[in-house]
């Protein structure tokens, strides 16, 4: 017959050992699996992020490559017009500017970002062609803040050209008198700001005209800009806020687009 005290001690010893062994095994098992699970989740997140960035990059590439076919068509039509008028000098001038713009366009479309100076070069070229097309009906002005280093500060390739194109085609185009597009580059404390203003008919009237023409789709360039800005923000490449307002209420007519480039990414 065993001593009851020894037996109780024995019970506790055996049970305690078994419980300790079981708890130890359980803790080990769950720690190993949880650690691996967290590692894998981190890895999957990184992969998903890299994939998303790749998708964004490809989408941005595709959007960068979209130059409004209307612009190409209109430019070639204008050249054809000068040729038909036997105005060799103007047609050569136009063709030369057009070919230079095409070269710049293809050169920049391979890049993700360019300096403000390069973007201004492209805009100048583009506006020169539009000026030829609109003859005396279009004027443009580019104002640069002396505090802004346009050679150093970068912006996404051809982000301004579609906005300027909108200002001309939807603002100035419908205006009966001469119109002006002004592009202002200004230094602000967290980056720089770009104003694109036109004294055309204004965005509200332009939209009304679009409706009347039963052409209810949004202007092509406007879509491209908004899509690009969204993708740039999602890709953490640029943080650009975009606003558009009709300035007709202030006694004048026209549209003002403001782009704020936040460089504190």
């Amino acid at each position: 017959m065993q001593d009851p005290e020894i037996d109780i001690e024995n019970i506790f010893l055996v049970l305690f050992s078994i419980i300790l062994l079981v708890i130890g095994a359980l803790v080990f098992l769950f720690v190993v699996f949880n650690t691996r699970k967290n590692e894998l989740i981190q890895q999957k997140l990184k992969e998903a992020l890299a994939h998303q960035e790749k998708v964004h990059e490809l989408q941005l590439n595709a959007l960068r490559g979209q130059m409004n076919p209307h612009f190409v068509h209109n430019s070639l039509n204008a050249i054809q017009y000068y040729i038909q008028m036997n105005d060799v000098e103007s047609s050569e001038k136009y063709l030369s500017k057009f070919s230079k713009l095409m070269r710049l366009f293809f050169e920049y479309s391979r890049k993700k970002q360019i300096s403000i100076a390069d973007e201004i070069k492209l805009l100048n070229n583009y506006l020169e062609i539009e000026k030829l097309r609109f003859e005396d009906k279009l004027n443009y002005v580019i104002i640069i803040d002396p505090l802004l280093d346009i050679e150093d500060e970068q912006l996404p390739v051809m982000i301004l050209q579609p906005i300027v194109e909108n200002a001309i085609n939807h603002g100035i185009f419908h205006k009966s008198t001469k119109g002006t597009v002004s592009i202002t580059f200004k230094k602000i404390h967290h980056g720089f700001r770009i104003y694109i203003e036109d004294d055309g008919i204004g965005i509200l009237k332009s939209k009304q005209l679009q409706k009347n023409l039963l052409n209810r789709h949004k202007p092509h360039s406007s879509n491209v800009v908004e899509d690009r800005l969204q993708l740039l923000k999602e890709s953490n490449l640029f943080d650009i806020s975009y606003s558009i307002q009709d300035v007709s209420e202030t006694g004048k007519t026209g549209t003002k687009v403001v782009l704020d480039f936040n460089l504190n990414l």
């Binding site: 065993q2 037996d7 024995n10 019970i11 055996v14 049970l15 050992s17 078994i18 419980i19 062994l21 079981v22 095994a25 359980l26 098992l29 190993v32 699996f33 691996r36 699970k37 894998l40 989740i41 999957k44």
Partner: protein
């Protein structure tokens, strides 16, 4: 739980578990009732259970471990252990030590292989809703606790019958708790 969740796992490798669990219930019932009704040892019921349960586990592991040659080898080793038990241990009087210990070690080995495979797969992200994970973990915990207990119990005087029964009850609660949770969690996967 296994019966309630049947439709959720009837097309998986765990589909035979419901029948196996019913067999476990039958074994426990027979093991308890036979000594009371017929005043004879019920060891043969448990020896039969050892043979069938480890054969079942081996068949189950073979269905997802993707190592047919290794499982065949382990099956042959287990068969050898059964033959040894048949020769050296009485089927009706003694609990088959050779067969149990060999089966337990084979199970622990297969469980390790399963864990190792799972840790390399993306499925590890959802391991908490894996039916297999909970069943194998329950069985693993049971064997980790029961294997030393069974070996100590054979050394007379080290572990009393009361100790043995208490520890076995505790391990059974964990084992069937894990299996029950496994069938519940698996249905939420």
């Amino acid at each position: 739980m296994a019966i309630v969740q049947w439709k959720n796992y009837k097309d998986t490798t765990e589909r035979y578990f419901v029948f196996f669990l019913l067999y476990v219930l039958l074994t426990e019932f027979s093991g308890y009732i036979i000594p009371h009704l017929y005043q004879r040892k019920s060891q043969f019921v448990y020896n039969l259970f050892i043979t069938i349960s480890y054969s079942f586990y081996l068949h189950w592991f073979a269905s997802f471990l993707k190592r047919p040659k290794l499982i065949l080898l382990l099956s042959l080793v287990f068969l050898g252990a059964i033959i040894s038990s048949l020769v050296y241990e009485n089927f009706f009087i003694h609990l088959w030590g050779y067969a149990f210990r060999t089966g337990a070690v084979i199970f622990l080995f297969c469980a390790t292989l399963y864990y190792s495979d799972l840790l390399k797969q993306d499925a590890v992200i959802n391991y908490l809703t894996s039916r297999k994970f909970w069943i194998i973990s329950g069985l693993l915990i049971f064997h980790i606790g029961f294997l030393p207990l069974e070996m100590l119990q054979r050394q007379k005087g080290i572990v009393s019958t009361l100790n043995y029964r208490l520890a076995l009850t505790f391990l059974n609660i964990i084992l069937y708790g894990f299996i029950t949770f496994g069938f519940y969690a698996g249905s939420r996967n």
